[in-house]
């Protein structure tokens, strides 16, 4: 009985993908450490994790509730600045003249809450708008937030950004290989800010800039996010979101309070980016307005659409795929093309000649053309996304079979 249950579970596509992703996440740091001997790739993976969190959050807004949000990076910025302001020396030089150093483990939830509140405040007057109009308002909001941080230098440091952001620290008994090399340098009796801002009695280790510690942290955060969002999706609220996505008028006629439900989608979606923002601030140690421009919103949206709107596994894979294309594939392309040309005897293409900048340089210039082509191709080949949500997939299958049946029946009926 139990075995049957287990087998059934493994048959379930999403469970299988989650299993593969989880195993991959466990094995990845070990393999890369052995293969490359450096933690550079792990640092990149930790950065990619930020985008996975963002994609999971935006999926609630775009995939579940069907609200097009083009300014999602604004909430990300709000989360990051919330942590940066209250965990660095920044506020000391602000009109407040007092710097705060609140612990990461508290601020991560404060960041979540602040971003959710920002989502609700933005959503309240605007969610009566539909479709394109909502998209434009969110687009505007996404522009305003980075502009504010550029233009309020006394608070946000403006273009100079906020640096020297505190790193998370944990009691030493949690330490282990997953905590990275920094865990070796345990600070006896130093300020260990886990819950309060006072000194602690236990010895502590700081995350420092150790990629492994951040990697472990982001994996745990993603797992928590997946569990949360998965439960939301199956809840009553999840069904209400689905109904609104399908037909808002019908949803209202069923007794769904459409304004509250959409507001919740907005706030919950935003809260995940607040979560991601606090992590981002801590792991990079620097929060600058340049990190939250329109391109970030669009990149996350592309991850969601390409991965499969409404599917949690889909958006995770989509986020990883797009991150890989943007940060590994595209930068590696020019030298690769140059080598290729040399090897097949077309080396003359690599020399600069008049208007021709050389093959590598030319590839560099058309980088985003290649990116665009990849996106167009993927959307043409799999318009429903890499791993579409099960509901949608079944719908598409059923639709193909039943359309003919329904047509025949209509003929019979008339």
């Amino acid at each position: 009985m139990a075995r049957l249950h287990l087998r059934e579970r493994f048959k379930d596509r999403d469970t299988a993908i989650f299993g593969v992703l989880f195993l991959g996440a466990l094995v990845f740091p070990i393999v890369t450490m052995f293969a490359t001997g450096s933690s550079a790739l792990i640092a990149q993976a930790g950065h990619a994790g930020t985008f996975v969190l963002l994609a999971i959050g935006l999926n609630v807004v775009v995939g579940f509730a069907g609200l097009l949000d083009l300014g999602y990076a604004a909430f990300f910025a709000i989360g990051a600045y919330t942590y940066a302001l209250f965990a660095s020396a920044q506020l000391g030089s602000s009109p407040l003249h007092h710097s705060y150093h609140l612990p990461f483990w508290l601020m991560i939830f404060v960041g979540m809450f602040v971003a959710a509140a920002a989502g609700a405040i933005l959503g309240f007057p605007t969610l009566r708008l539909r479709g394109d109009y909502l998209a434009i308002v969110t687009l505007g909001f996404g522009e305003i937030v980075p502009q504010l941080s550029y233009n309020l230098p006394q608070w946000t440091g403006g273009i100079n950004a906020i640096g020297g952001i505190d790193q998370p620290s944990l009691p030493a008994w949690i330490t282990g290989p997953w905590a990275g090399a920094n865990s070796i340098s345990i600070i006896q009796g130093a300020a260990c800010r886990v819950i309060g801002s006072g000194t602690s009695f236990a010895p502590c280790f700081s995350f420092g800039f150790d990629p492994i510690a951040y990697y472990a942290l982001v994996v745990i955060m993603i797992i928590a996010a997946v569990i949360l969002v998965g439960n939301l999706y199956r809840s009553r609220l999840g069904r209400a979101w689905m109904a609104i996505r399908e037909d808002e008028v019908a949803a209202a006629a069923m007794g769904i309070n459409t304004v509250t439900t959409k507001l919740l989608a907005f706030a919950i979606g935003a809260s995940f980016s607040g979560f991601a923002g606090a992590y981002y601030g801590a792991s990079i140690g620097l929060v600058s307005p340049d990190d939250f421009l329109f391109i970030v919103s669009i990149t996350v949206l592309v991850m969601v659409v390409l991965g499969g709107m409404g599917s949690i596994t889909g958006v995770i894979v989509g986020a990883l795929a797009i991150y890989f294309v943007l940060n590994t594939f595209l930068p590696a392309l020019p030298p690769f093309v140059e080598n290729l040309a040399n090897n097949v005897g077309l080396g003359f293409l690599n020399t600069q000649n008049g208007d021709w900048p050389g093959l590598a340089q030319e590839t560099q210039r058309i980088n985003f053309l290649v990116y665009g082509l990849i996106l167009v191709l993927m959307m043409l080949l799999r318009p429903q996304g890499i791993f579409p949500s099960r509901v949608r997939e079944q719908e598409l299958k059923h639709a193909a079979v039943n359309e003919d049946e329904a047509a025949v029946e209509q003929v019979h009926a008339s």
Binding site: R236, R239, A240, M242, A243, E246, D247, V249, A250, A251, A252, A253, M254, G255, I256, N257, T258, V391, R392, E395, H398, A399, N402, E403, E405, A406, E409, Q410, A413, S414
Partner: protein, 236 residues
């Protein structure tokens, strides 16, 4: 006191007046038909009752409570449920999921299961197609699903907007016999129809709407017998 009382309601779309001092009553156990041509204000009347729009003046009372300014979700909870114009199914959900959405405001699982059985008894066709995607049902089945979904809210008043629209004559016959059956089970029905002859056959009482005002009211038979109605709507 009637179950539903609409009293001299004036409603506007922007500056265009859609309803001019309309008064309607629906009592327990009744089927009431609202007939009239396109643009007479039939759907607007339903939208006003269900809270999807609010009148400029006049009152709507249900079960003795003023619901003129109440929101649509509250009104559904109070027991007014409608099968909206154009059916408005959730096209990409299955039949069963659509029915479950109808029971969104309810929490009693056994009650929902009982009502699901009841809907399947009324519409055996839906039971056969329970796992099918709603958007791929035929027109008649979609109408059945829209009515079934409204019934899942266990309504104290069922409002049907143009249930016969776009259906083959034989299916219209089926739909109206089901309306009778639903009513026989004790659910009052407010029926909006362009197909006046069928609606008047089923209805205990009827109102005739013309450009936003009620021009005639009476029992189904009386209205059907009127010369004006015969000329204008029954094509006799």
């Amino acid at each position: 006191m009637a179950l539903l009382e609409v009293e001299s309601v004036n409603a506007f779309y922007g500056r265009i007046q859609a309803l001019r001092g309309i008064s309607i009553e629906v009592d327990k156990g009744e089927v009431v038909a609202l007939i009239g041509s396109n643009g007479a204000g039939k759907t607007t009347t339903l939208r006003t009752i269900s809270g999807l729009m609010h009148p400029q003046s006049g009152t709507v009372r249900f079960d003795g409570r003023d619901i003129t300014r109440t929101g649509p979700s509250k009104i559904v909870e109070m027991g007014i449920c409608q099968s909206p114009e154009g059916r408005r199914l959730f096209p990409r959900m299955t039949v069963v999921d659509n029915l479950f959405m109808g029971a969104y405001t309810r929490n009693d699982k056994p009650g929902i299961a009982t009502d699901m059985d009841r809907v399947f008894t009324l519409f055996p066709r839906l039971k056969e197609r329970r796992t099918q995607i709603a958007g791929t049902l035929s027109g008649g089945e979609q109408q059945m699903l829209a009515m079934g979904r409204a019934l899942m809210a266990s309504p104290k008043l069922l409002m049907l907007d143009e249930p016969s629209l776009g259906l083959a004559p034989i299916l219209i016959e089926t739909i109206f016999s089901i309306v009778r059956e639903i009513n026989a089970q004790g659910v009052p029905v407010l029926l909006v129809e362009q197909n006046a002859s069928k609606a008047l056959e089923v209805a205990h009482r009827a109102y005739v709407l013309e450009t936003g005002s009620i021009v005639m009211t009476g029992t189904g038979k009386e209205v059907a017998a009127s010369e004006d109605v015969q000329k204008a709507y029954l094509g006799i």
